[in-house]
C-alpha cells in the first residue's frame, strides 16, 4: 500500500488535553520553550524527513507530524517518543492520549486554533500559542511545506472564527473568576496583602486584576529580582526576591503563583509550618502555573483555599450554553477551511504528478521527433516546427481530459488513488515527482501570507 501511494503526506496528531488528562498528568509532559526546540531536534534525528511541531499550553500537549515517503512513525512510536522525552511510563501516558490522522487531524488543529477545543471556548490566547508553536517548529527547522501550509491555514481559520463570530463575546476571563473566588472568602481588602510569585505574563494579568481590589499591600517576588522590580514598577507593587518566601507567605492573604519552576514552590510541609505564624488566617492561593507551583496537599490545610488553573477554567467555562449558536457558526467556518486546505493539499500533490506526466509525454514526443528528424534531414525548419507543434497539441488534447478530471472533478478521497495509478501506469519515478518532504527549503516566515491553494 505504501508503495502504491508513495507520495501521500500523512498528517498526524498525537496529544492530550484537559478533557483526556488531568492537570497532574498534563504538567508532567508540558514542554517549555527550550524543551520544545530540543524535543523537535531529537525528533528530527530519530525520524529524518518528517515534519513536526509541538503545541504545549496549560491545557494541551500535542505533537503534529507530517511524514513523507520514507519513514512513517506510527502512533505508538510517537507516544513512546513523548513519554520517553519526559521520562514517564508510556503505559500510563497512553490512556490519556488521543490521535487523529489526515483530515481529522487537520480539523482538530483548526478547532484547537479557533478555541472550540479549549476549556474556555472563545478564548483568543490559543491563537498566539499556536503561532508560537509554529514559530518554534520553524526555528527548529522541522516545519516543512506541509506544516507551513497547515499552520498558516489554521491561524487564518482561527482568526476568521474570532473575527466573524461572537464566540469570544460574553466570555468570562480566568482572572475574573479568580477575583470572584477571592470575594467568596474575604469581605474587605483594605487590610489584605497580595503576593505574586513569578513575573510572567499570566502572573501579571492576575496581578492587575487583583490590584483592582485595592489591597493594602501588593508584593511581587521572582527568582530574578530585576524582573520582579520591572513588574512591580509597572503595577505599583513592591518587589522582593524569592529568598524571603516564608516571610512573604506569612504576610500574604492572597497568593498568586505563576512561576516557571518545574518543581512545586509551595510544598505542604512548608506551608504547614507557616500556619501558626500566620495565626491561621484564611488564605486564597491561585496557582496558574503549569507545572503547578503549589503541592495539591496544601489544599487540605485549615483555612487554605487553593485553586489551580483547571478549577478557574471550569468556572469560566460555565457560560458555554448560550453560545451554542456561535459554536455552530464557527464549525461551519472551520469545515470550509478544512475543505480549502484539502483542496490545497490535493493541488500540491497533483501538481508535480501532472507536471511529470506532461514532461514524460513531451520527452517521448521529443525523442520520437528527434528520431524522425534524423531520418528525414530534408525537412525544413518550418516543417519541423509544424511537427513539434502538432505533437504538443496531440499531447495536450489527449491529456486535457484526464488531467482536468484529476485536478478538478475527481472527488477528494479518490484523488490519491488516481495519482498513484498515474504514477504507476506511466512509471513516473520519485525523482520526477519531487515530494514536498524532500524539498527541505526553509519555509516562509509565519508572518507571511498563507499560500493560496486552488
Amino acid at each position: 500500500m505504501e508503495s502504491f501511494i508513495p507520495n501521500s503526506q500523512e498528517v498526524m496528531v498525537v496529544g492530550l488535553n484537559h478533557r483526556t488528562a488531568p492537570l497532574a498528568v498534563r504538567e508532567t509532559v508540558a514542554f517549555s520553550a527550550e524543551q520544545t526546540r530540543d524535543a523537535l531536534g531529537r525528533f528530527a534525528t530519530l525520524f529524518p524527513g518528517c515534519e513536526a511541531a509541538i503545541i504545549s499550553t496549560c491545557n494541551r500537549v500535542e505533537l503534529y507530524v507530517a511524514h513523507g515517503a520514507g519513514v512513517a512513525p506510527d502512533v505508538a512510536t510517537v507516544v513512546e517518543f513523548l513519554a520517553g522525552y519526559h521520562k514517564v511510563s508510556a503505559a500510563d501516558f497512553r490512556e490519556h492520549v488521543y490521535y487523529y490522522q489526515e483530515t481529522a487531524a487537520v480539523a482538530h488543529l483548526f478547532a484547537v486554533t479557533s478555541s472550540l477545543d479549549s476549556m474556555v471556548v472563545g478564548e483568543t490566547q490559543i491563537l498566539g500559542q499556536v503561532k508560537h508553536a509554529y514559530q518554534g517548529a520553524c526555528a527548529a527547522h522541522t516545519a516543512g511545506p506541509m506544516l507551513h501550509g497547515l499552520f498558516q491555514r489554521a491561524l487564518a481559520a482561527g482568526k476568521e472564527v474570532h473575527e466573524s463570530t461572537g464566540l469570544s463575546a460574553g466570555r468570562v476571563s480566568v482572572a475574573g473568576v479568580a477575583v470572584q473566588l477571592v470575594h467568596r472568602v474575604f469581605d474587605q481588602f483594605s487590610d489584605k496583602t497580595v503576593v505574586c510569585l513569578g513575573a510572567g505574563k499570566m502572573a501579571e494579568l492576575m496581578l492587575v486584576n487583583m490590584a483592582k481590589l485595592a489591597p493594602a499591600k501588593v508584593i511581587v517576588a521572582n527568582r530574578s529580582l530585576p524582573r520582579a522590580q520591572e513588574l512591580a514598577h509597572r503595577t505599583g507593587a513592591a518587589a522582593c526576591s524569592m529568598d524571603q518566601l516564608d516571610h512573604l507567605l506569612t504576610e500574604a492573604d492572597i497568593v498568586l503563583a505563576g512561576t516557571g519552576s518545574r518543581e512545586p514552590v509551595i510544598t505542604a510541609g512548608r506551608f504547614k509550618a507557616l500556619l501558626k505564624p500566620r495565626r491561621y488566617r484564611p488564605v486564597v492561593i491561585v496557582d496558574i502555573a503549569v507545572p503547578r507551583d503549589v503541592e495539591p496537599a496544601v489544599a487540605s490545610l485549615p483555612n487554605v483555599y487553593l485553586y489551580n488553573l483547571d478549577d478557574l477554567q471550569t468556572a469560566a467555562a460555565g457560560n458555554r450554553g448560550r453560545r451554542e449558536r456561535e459554536i455552530d457558526m464557527s464549525r461551519e467556518i472551520l469545515s470550509r477551511h478544512v475543505e480549502a486546505f484539502n483542496n490545497w493539499r490535493a493541488a500540491r500533490d497533483t501538481g508535480p504528478v501532472v507536471k511529470a506526466l506532461y514532461e514524460h509525454c513531451h520527452a517521448v514526443a521529443a525523442d520520437e521527433l528527434a528520431l524522425m528528424f534524423a531520418r528525414m534531414p530534408e525537412m525544413s525548419e518550418a516543417q519541423r516546427r509544424q511537427m513539434q507543434r502538432a505533437a504538443h497539441r496531440i499531447i495536450g488534447k489527449i491529456l486535457h481530459g484526464p488531467v482536468t478530471h484529476i485536478t478538478k472533478e475527481a472527488p477528494e478521497p479518490v484523488r490519491p488513488a488516481l495519482l498513484a495509478a498515474l504514477r504507476n501506469l506511466f512509471d513516473l519515478s520519485a525523482a520526477d515527482v519531487a515530494g514536498p518532504a524532500n524539498a527541505a527549503a526553509p519555509g516562509p516566515e509565519p508572518e507571511s501570507t498563507a499560500p493560496t491553494g486552488n
Binding site: 483568543t124 490566547q125 468570562v172 473568576v177 472568602v185 494579568l205 483592582k212 501558626k276 485553586y307 468556572a315
Partner: protein, 342 residues
C-alpha cells in the same frame, strides 16, 4: 378560665398575679402554622441560592476587566472579555420570572410566620393578667425566639454581605417552634416571671439562645461555604451563593460574644436562684444534669471568644464548636424540663 397563680417573694409580700394561660389545640395549630410558614419560605428561597457561576457574576454585576488588545498581546486575551460593554442585566438568561415570584414569596411567608408567632405571644400575654413579661412557659419562650429570629432574618436579608445566611435561619426557626411546642406539650413548666431574678434569668437565657441559634446557623453555613470552596465545582448546579467566609466568621464571633455575655448572666442568676433554694435541693444541687450541661456549654463557647488569643480555633473548628454549643444548649432546655433539679 385560666388558673391564677399567686406568688410570694422571700419577704412574704404579695406581688401581682401572673396567670397561666394553658396551651390549647388552636394555639398548637397556630404555632405549627407559623413553623410551616418558615419552612415554606425556606423551600421557596433555597433555589434562589442555587445558581451557576455565570449567573452569579451577572447578578453581582462584576465588570469584566478590560485588558490590552489581544492583537498586540495574545496573552491579554486571558484577561479580556469583549462583551464587557454589555451590561450584565441585559442577559435574558438571568431574569427568570420564577425567580422573581420566589423572591416575593419568601419575605411574605416569613412575615406571616413571624406575625403569627408574635400575635400568639401578644394574645397569650393579653390573656395573662400581668404584662411585665409575657412569658409563662416554653410555648411563649419559643414563640418569642421565633419572632426574634424572624427579625434577624430581616436583618440578614437587608445586609448585603450576609444575604444567603437568612435562608438557613428559616428551618432553625421552624425547628425551634416545634421543639418548644413539644416541650410545652410534654411537660408544663411554669416560669415565674414575676420574680425579677427569674425574669432576668429567663430573658437572658432566651436572648442568649437566640444569639447561639443564629451562631449555630452561621457555623453550619460557614462549613457549607467552606466545603463548597474546597470542592471547587463552581459551575455546577448545586453550587449555592453563600456569604463570604470572612463575613460569616465575623457574624459568628459577634453572635457568640453577645450570646456568651447573656449566657453568663443567665448562669449567674441561675446559680443565685439555685443557691437561694439550696436548702431544699440538698448539697448535691450542682451535680444535676442542668448545671453540668450548662457549665459544659459555657466552656464550649469560651474558646470561641478567644480566637484572637487562640487563633487555632479559627474557621472550621469555631464553626463546629458553635454548632456543638447550641446542641448542648438544647440539651440544657431538655434537662431543665425533664430532669427536675431534685
Amino acid at each position: 378560665m385560666a388558673p391564677v397563680v399567686r406568688m410570694k417573694l422571700a419577704g412574704g409580700r404579695r406581688i401581682r398575679m401572673v396567670r397561666h394561660v394553658p396551651v390549647d389545640l388552636p394555639q398548637c395549630w397556630a404555632l405549627t402554622g407559623s413553623a410551616a410558614c418558615f419552612l415554606a419560605a425556606f423551600f421557596a428561597d433555597l433555589p434562589l441560592l442555587r445558581r451557576t457561576a455565570a449567573s452569579e457574576r451577572a447578578d453581582a454585576g462584576v465588570p469584566e476587566p478590560a485588558g490590552v488588545s489581544a492583537e498586540r498581546n495574545p496573552a491579554a486575551a486571558f484577561n479580556t472579555a469583549s462583551a464587557s460593554a454589555i451590561p450584565p442585566s441585559a442577559s435574558p438568561a438571568r431574569r427568570d420570572p420564577r425567580d422573581r415570584r420566589a423572591r416575593r414569596i419568601a419575605p411574605v411567608l416569613v412575615l406571616a410566620g413571624g406575625a403569627l408567632a408574635a400575635a400568639l405571644l401578644a394574645w397569650r400575654a393579653g390573656q395573662a393578667a400581668a404584662l411585665t413579661l409575657p412569658l409563662s412557659d416554653y410555648f411563649d419562650a419559643f414563640a418569642l425566639l421565633a419572632a426574634l429570629l424572624a427579625a434577624t432574618w430581616g436583618y440578614f436579608q437587608w445586609t448585603n454581605h450576609l444575604r444567603g445566611l437568612g435562608v438557613f435561619l428559616l428551618p432553625m426557626i421552624a425547628g425551634l417552634e416545634l421543639f418548644g411546642l413539644a416541650l410545652s406539650l410534654a411537660g408544663y413548666k411554669f416560669f415565674n416571671a414575676a420574680n425579677p431574678w427569674i425574669a432576668v434569668h429567663i430573658a437572658s437565657v432566651l436572648l442568649g439562645s437566640a444569639c447561639f441559634a443564629a451562631g449555630c446557623v452561621g457555623g453550619a453555613v460557614y462549613l457549607l461555604a467552606d466545603r463548597q470552596l474546597r470542592r471547587g465545582q463552581f459551575g455546577e448546579r448545586g453550587f449555592l451563593r453563600l456569604p463570604p467566609l470572612a463575613s460569616l466568621e465575623k457574624f459568628n464571633q459577634h453572635a457568640i460574644l453577645l450570646g456568651f455575655a447573656l449566657l453568663t448572666l443567665a448562669v449567674i442568676t441561675g446559680l443565685l436562684l439555685q443557691m437561694a433554694s439550696a436548702h431544699t435541693l440538698g448539697p448535691d444541687w450542682f451535680l444535676t444534669p442542668k448545671v453540668i450541661l450548662t457549665t459544659l456549654t459555657w466552656l464550649i463557647y469560651a474558646p470561641l471568644l478567644h480566637v484572637r488569643l487562640a487563633p487555632a480555633f479559627r474557621g472550621q473548628r469555631a464553626a463546629w464548636l458553635s454548632i456543638i454549643g447550641f446542641l448542648l444548649l438544647i440539651g440544657v432546655f431538655i434537662s431543665v424540663n425533664f430532669m427536675p433539679a431534685h
